[in-house]
């Protein structure tokens, strides 16, 4: 199943957060969201926990953070 990719790098806050929330609202329940951001989004983590979602964050050498948002029971690959 394809992940939904959101490239929110260099968007003015809170636009990245708004885009993620809009995408999460319309995705299929088992679909994952891959967010690319130029910084680590601590406030988003609060919201994901509240929504019962899990996330994995990987910093890239170019400074981009890749945040994979997925259902709690989903295995990360």
């Amino acid at each position: 199943m394809d992940d939904i990719v959101i490239d929110a790098r260099w968007l003015e806050p809170p636009e990245p957060l708004e885009r993620v929330l809009a995408t999460l609202a319309r995705r299929r329940r088992d679909q994952r969201v891959r967010l690319l951001l130029h910084r680590e989004p601590y406030p988003l983590y609060d919201l994901l926990r509240q929504m019962g979602l899990a996330y994995d964050t990987q910093p890239s050498p170019d400074g981009t953070y890749v945040i994979l948002i997925h259902p709690v029971d989903d295995r990360v690959s």
């Binding site: 003015e12 806050p13 809170p14 609060d46 926990r49 509240q50 899990a54 996330y55 994995d56």
Partner: protein, 432 residues
């Protein structure tokens, strides 16, 4: 790598930082109004009781309230480490700082020992829990980025030194213990407070928020690493030479003030350069408040050279102008700019988390704080700063020309922040 999310119970409610942000403008207003009848004293000397009282209304009252509230909010968000017992810390900090500042200003202005003693007690109630709670937060910080963490830890240390010196001086003025070298220690207290706590905290915050909010490239690594260490080193040497009563030699000037002024100039210059290279060239009041602040900081670095060529009689007005430049031109401008980002973001974020609203169903940040309202404040504040800078050089009656727009700017700031809170509550937001 999976990072644990912040505990929602630990993140402060909107009402906690907001109480500080809504209180801060009232101290700016009070300072502006109190400065009108005392203009002959504070324009003549920064050592006058009126100048000391007004300085503390600005530093403890306006800047202290705003910075304390911002730190309680930003530590969890920026360095990923919540402040323990946020409600207790905020309530004690807010009440202790507000009452302590009023009493201290009155005690300093009227040289009243009972007022000074009560002020010290209130300020201790306000600052000590804050120092303890933020120490825990800074020690536990788990952020991968040290760019902000190190300056914040350094600023915390500078705050500790500032408060220790402040309480020492306050105790002397209140007759609690014998006098030391008052003027030298007051200079140290001011240096640690302004160049240490205020400037290093602004630097640490800038390294994160200027690239984040103004979409600029990141600060160059050498600047991030060395600027705050340079300030800390300068303050350390200054303290050593003061406490060992070394004369104020040319060598001391070179060792302390040249590197410190160079650090100020580099920070201001790099920030302006980064802002010039920002990715989105949209007009933004926060950006312009920061630009004004950086221009004032750059101007400040030129004053020592000016002092060297001007006759000694100009030293007193130059010192007062330098104080105005740093406090109103730099520090108040930065805080204003930050408030116009922090408060609408928190309103939007808390409303989102409380209501779980779908995108578009709640006001966005620009609706919480229209740029036109912030810009009106920016102009009023800029006019006030420009009119007040020459006040120490002119007849005292002139000062009112800058103090009235300053008072109006404080009222406007409060109205803008209050309007944001009212919109938040109208959409069902809860402050607790």
């Amino acid at each position: 790598m999976t990072r644990p999310g912040l505990s929602f119970e630990q993140a402060p409610a909107f009402g906690l930082p907001l109480r500080f942000f809504l209180t801060a403008p009232s101290f700016l207003l009070l300072a502006a109004l109190a400065a009108i009848p005392t203009a002959d004293a504070w324009t003549a000397s920064r050592w006058s009781p009126a100048a000391l009282a007004l300085t503390h209304l600005l530093t403890l009252g306006f800047l202290g309230q705003a910075m304390l509230g911002a730190m309680l909010q930003m530590l969890p968000v920026v360095i990923g480490s919540p402040v323990p017992r946020p409600r207790l810390t905020a309530v004690l900090g807010h009440i202790g700082l507000a009452t302590g500042t009023l009493l201290l200003a009155a005690g300093l202005g009227w040289s009243h020992t009972t007022l000074l003693r009560t002020a010290m007690l209130c300020l201790a109630v306000g600052w000590l829990p804050f120092l303890a709670a933020t120490a825990v937060s800074l020690a536990r910080a788990r952020t991968a980025s040290t760019a902000t963490l190190h300056p914040m830890r350094q600023a915390w240390f500078a705050l500790l030194v500032t408060l220790a010196l402040g309480f020492g001086l306050g105790g002397t003025l209140a007759g609690l213990w014998p006098a030391g070298p008052l003027q030298a220690l007051t200079g140290l207290h001011a240096a640690w407070g302004l160049l240490g706590w205020v400037l290093m905290l602004v630097m640490g915050v800038a390294y994160q928020v200027v690239p984040m909010l103004q979409l600029t490239p990141v600060y160059p690594a050498p600047a991030v690493t060395w600027l705050t260490w340079t300030l800390l080193g300068g303050l350390g040497v200054l303290s050593f030479s003061t406490l060992t009563a070394k004369p104020d030699t040319g060598l001391m000037q070179a060792v302390v003030w040249l590197p410190v002024m160079a650090a100020l100039a580099v920070f201001a210059g790099v920030t302006l350069w980064l802002q010039h290279r920002r990715r989105r060239k949209l007009a933004d009041a926060t950006l312009d408040f920061w630009r004004l602040a950086m221009l004032c900081l750059l101007t400040l670095t030129a004053l020592p050279a000016l002092a060297a060529v001007l006759p000694p009689v100009t030293r007193a007005p130059l010192e007062t102008s330098a104080g105005l430049l740093f406090l109103l031109g730099f520090a108040v401008s930065v805080v204003n700019g930050m408030l116009y980002k922090i408060v609408p973001f928190l309103a939007w974020f808390h409303l989102q988390t409380q209501t779980g609203a779908k995108a578009g169903s709640i006001p966005n940040m620009k609706q919480f704080m229209p740029d036109s309202l912030a810009r009106r404040h920016l102009w009023l504040h800029t006019v006030a700063v420009l009119l007040l800078l020459p006040a120490p050089w002119l007849p005292p009656d002139y000062a009112v020309a800058g103090l009235l727009p300053l008072a109006a700017s404080a009222i406007l700031l409060w109205l803008n922040l209050f309007g944001c809170m009212r919109l938040f509550r109208r959409h069902g937001g809860r402050l607790r």
